[in-house]
Amino acid sequence: MKIRIILLFTLCAGLACAQENAVYRDMDLPVEQYEPHVRGDMTLSKTYPYWKDRNKLDWRLAGNPEENWKLNWKFMDPPFNNTVHGGHFALDRGESLYKSLNRDGRFAACLGATSGRLKGLRTRYPMYRKDLRRVAGLEAVIEHCASAQGEVLQHGSYDNSAVSLYLASLSQGMPMRIDVSKGPMREAFERGRQLFHTKAGRLNFACSSCHTRNVGQLVRGSHITTPYGDVAHYPVYRTQYRLQSLHLRMMECNLDAGVQPLMPGSQSYTDLEVFLSALSNGYTVSVPAERN
């Protein structure tokens, strides 16, 4: 009898929890297959040929406000954009911060430098970090490694993004190459892909509502761009918002779409970072870039 009661309770508990796991969420369907390479844009916005090579952008497109979206805003990246802007000051700040953090070489080792070399490091993030037992983006790792030395470099803060920008500059011109073919990275990519199609907030929008279904269409006079090839210029200098990391950009996306934002470094944003970074695989890092 006693055992039966226990069984009954356990069963009920199981049912109550199972019900909780099946929470109804609107999805933007179908959840598309995305190629984890920048060329996947050829089946989405098909604008890739216009911005494939930043060295050969068509200045006539760049100068035409009706057409410039087809360049995926790459005319605000170097080398086309050769103006001095706030991103350059952040880069200088990042270099001096890095050097003071790395006096004994521990910081570089913690970031994942191979024999002290940081070249190409940016192109491999986000990655699965065995020591952290999770997938982490570069800014999350900068925060972690600074904290190991007693320094506070919060994810999304100016100084964190400045260091990230400096590290990115050491991979200038190198293509992004994160591996999402197996293990925790594959799982993160898949969660990110699902999140990209999950509707949220007071207006019930998913990222894909605009950036997959309506690329090239107008929202309040602005053309919607492709999610492909959009990560290799981060952290970015926003002409109205100062230096901005990718997770802070996601917070702004959320706020603009009426969705309660999450904290920088949250699991969901990291999954989206993996997803979006994979969609930039094969596209070259170019910093410091601007966006309006």
Binding site: T10, R25, D28, S157, A200, L243, Q244, P261
Partner: protein, 175 residues
């Protein structure tokens, strides 16, 4: 053993209560009236500063994996004639970014910077839709098209019954 079973059961029963709450990884000030926080980047600082957003967004589901709140299901509107809508008020709601913001996605007469995601609403009156149908479109278009991109303004409590009546009067006046 039995107490563990009871505890597990009680915990799971309490889950909907927890689920009604907010995910831990959301950017919130839980004690404030406007809970939603916006990050502010401070030059040459390792810390972010936070300020309240212009609107509280914490009541709707987020993208957090920890968020156990469901999307509000598609809802049939309880519309009753007569319409009693004011077209001028409707137009103001359609152009206001903080309210209807229809102009963000739709093209409407007499306004710059329209959108092209939604249907062209120029001459909408000539399409001859019933008021009840137009009301449902704005209230919750998911009932008519499960995969629509249009926000369910009524079902999500973004616009009031009178707001929607005014919008119906407005779009039904476009010739």
């Amino acid at each position: 053993m039995r107490s563990i079973g009871v505890a597990a059961w009680a915990f799971c029963l309490a889950m909907p209560g927890l689920a009604a709450g907010l995910p831990e990884d959301a950017a919130l000030d839980r004690s404030a009236d406007i809970k939603t926080l916006v990050p502010r980047v401070v030059v040459n600082s390792g810390r972010l500063e936070w300020e309240p957003h212009k609107r509280d967004l914490s009541a709707w589901p987020t993208l957090s994996h920890l968020d156990r709140r469901a999307t509000i299901r598609p809802q049939q509107a309880a519309y009753s004639a007569p319409l009693n809508g004011d077209a001028a008020r409707g137009r103001a709601i359609a152009m206001d970014p903080a309210r209807g913001n229809c102009i963000a996605c739709h093209t409407l007469p007499g306004e710059d910077w329209p959108g092209s995601v939604g249907h062209l609403l120029l001459g909408y009156k000539r399409q001859g839709h019933a008021d009840a149908y137009v009301y449902q479109q704005i209230y919750d278009r998911r009932v008519l098209n499960p995969n629509t991109v249009m926000p369910p303004f009524g079902a999500f409590g973004v616009l009031s019954d009178q707001d929607i009546r005014d919008l119906v009067a407005y779009v039904q006046s476009l010739d």
